[in-house]
């Protein structure tokens, strides 16, 4: 049967890999090519690389670097960051990227999502929704490039994304980012129940039990950053990924 995917999500900043805490204080964790090579050897299900400065600085994707990533990936590669046009997406696909992830452009206008889906299929376009709680504890859609909440219900936005052609949705909890304190299961449950396409849960994974809980809440796939790059209480940089048998036992549906 179909397996739940476990996806390392790597953050790119000025050509280096970083890991953030609640979307702030990026800590350098190493050279991306080296990291991707290790993840490939560990036979990860899929890999997601997000350039966290591209949209903020209005830059295009770093094509030459992404081409090197694709060359190291014997599994599906998803890239996000700075994509504003279907031509840019096309260029990324030609380099060997399977999926593109959009956020900033999608928040403004979903035409890009539709254009990519029509040209390359729904499976090729993801939308990532960052969700941040406001001071009243209500979940709000967050625009990472502007560092602001968006006054628009997150669920309605994601439903519009699906209607526009998004084949998968990443639901990322900003408040849990990098904390390794567990995922926002209520958010995952609500998103997975409401949306007909696979939901990739992101934000807060600190243990295998967290992954299992997210899958039980309805996530088709679980993505994580810190969990795969930090080790021990002092957050020493060490790239790890569970062994296949371990995951199989963990996620076997009984």
């Amino acid at each position: 049967m179909l397996k739940h995917r476990l996806i390392p999500c790597l953050l790119l900043r000025n050509g280096g890999l970083v890991k953030t805490l609640k979307f702030a204080s990026p800590k350098y964790v190493g050279d991306p090519i080296n990291a991707i090579r290790i993840f490939n050897e560990k036979e990860v299900d899929e890999l997601m690389v997000v350039d966290i400065l591209a949209s903020k600085e209005g830059r295009e994707p770093n094509y030459s670097l992404i081409e090197q990533f694709a060359g190291e990936c014997f599994m599906p590669l998803c890239y996000g960051g700075g994509i504003r046009s279907v031509e840019q997406a096309q260029r990324l696909f030609a380099l060997g990227v399977e999926k593109v992830c959009v956020q900033t452009a999608a928040l403004e206008d979903l035409t890009l999502v539709t254009q990519i889906a029509e040209r390359f299929g729904s499976q090729a376009v993801l939308v990532c929704a960052d969700i941040k709680k406001d001071w009243l504890g209500r979940r709000q859609l967050y625009a990472a490039a502007r560092g602001k909440n968006v006054s628009r219900p997150w669920r309605a936005f994601l439903e519009e994304c699906v209607a526009a052609g998004a084949g998968e949705l990443v639901v990322n909890s900003v408040d849990r980012d990098g904390t390794m304190a567990g995922m926002d299961l209520e958010l995952i449950r609500e998103a997975a129940a409401a949306l007909p396409v696979p939901v990739i849960a992101l934000g807060g994974v600190g243990s295998l039990a967290d992954i299992k809980a997210a899958v039980a809440a309805g996530a088709s796939a679980v993505a994580a950053g810190a969990f795969f790059v930090f080790h021990g209480p002092h957050r020493a940089v060490l790239i790890t990924y569970p062994r296949y048998r371990e995951l199989e036992t963990l996620l076997s549906v009984t």
Partner: protein, 206 residues
């Protein structure tokens, strides 16, 4: 041994080319049907809609040259994902006839309502090898591959089924008829499992 990939605009071939290269093979994306005469292997790769793929083969004048290569010269041919579906006779997804090399119809995946199963079937799944064959070693323990598809190949002849996978129900994950092979999954994105399959394809005896 050199492998031709028809250069129709149905997705990217970079990953296939790279994986074939790792396997010690040589693959080239060819832009005109006439070039096919220079090759002794064929891969039809791609993702997207059935009619879009067939219309591109038809409008580019590929169909006669492909038939000559595969049915007359009988070179080993491998269809990947949409490529496998194009080798069938027809598809529920569209109205155009397929290449008709494999006696099968392409049908929509329809998991039972309430099963919670999503379409497209996307992600890693294991396959069950149905008969001994040169591409997929059934004795090799569990093999998993990366799938992304909403339609599947329904064979009319059981003997053509090489391997099945399960998503709500069993469906055909790989077919073979004479020199013609097809896989629904993406071997170029399936780690050592896919690499072994492509390696086997590169090494196939004509």
């Amino acid at each position: 041994m050199s492998i031709a990939i028809p250069g129709i605009p149905v997705g990217n071939f970079a990953s296939v080319l790279r994986m074939i290269d790792k396997c010690g093979g040589r693959a080239t994306v060819v832009s005109t049907p006439a070039e096919l005469a220079n090759f002794d292997r064929l891969i039809i790769a791609g993702v997207g809609a059935f009619d879009y793929g067939m219309a591109n083969l038809r409008d580019g004048g590929w169909i006669d040259a492909l038939n000559e290569m595969v049915l007359q010269r009988r070179v080993p041919a491998l269809g990947i994902c949409l490529g496998m579906q194009l080798m069938c006779t027809s598809s529920e997804e569209g109205g155009l006839p397929g290449l008709g090399w494999v006696d099968a119809e392409v049908k929509r995946l329809r998991p039972e309502a309430g099963s919670g199963l999503k379409v497209p079937h996307m992600g890693w799944n294991t396959v069950r090898v149905k008969r001994s064959n040169p591409l997929l070693d059934g004795e090799d323990g569990e093999q998993r591959f990366y799938f992304v598809h909403s339609y599947y190949v329904a064979c009319r002849r059981d003997g053509d089924v090489l391997a099945t996978a399960h998503h709500g129900a069993d469906f055909v994950a790989a077919v073979n008829h004479d020199n013609i092979y097809g896989v629904q999954f993406h071997p170029e994105k399936s780690h050592r499992f896919g690499m072994a399959l492509l390696q086997n394809f590169v090494n196939l005896q004509c």
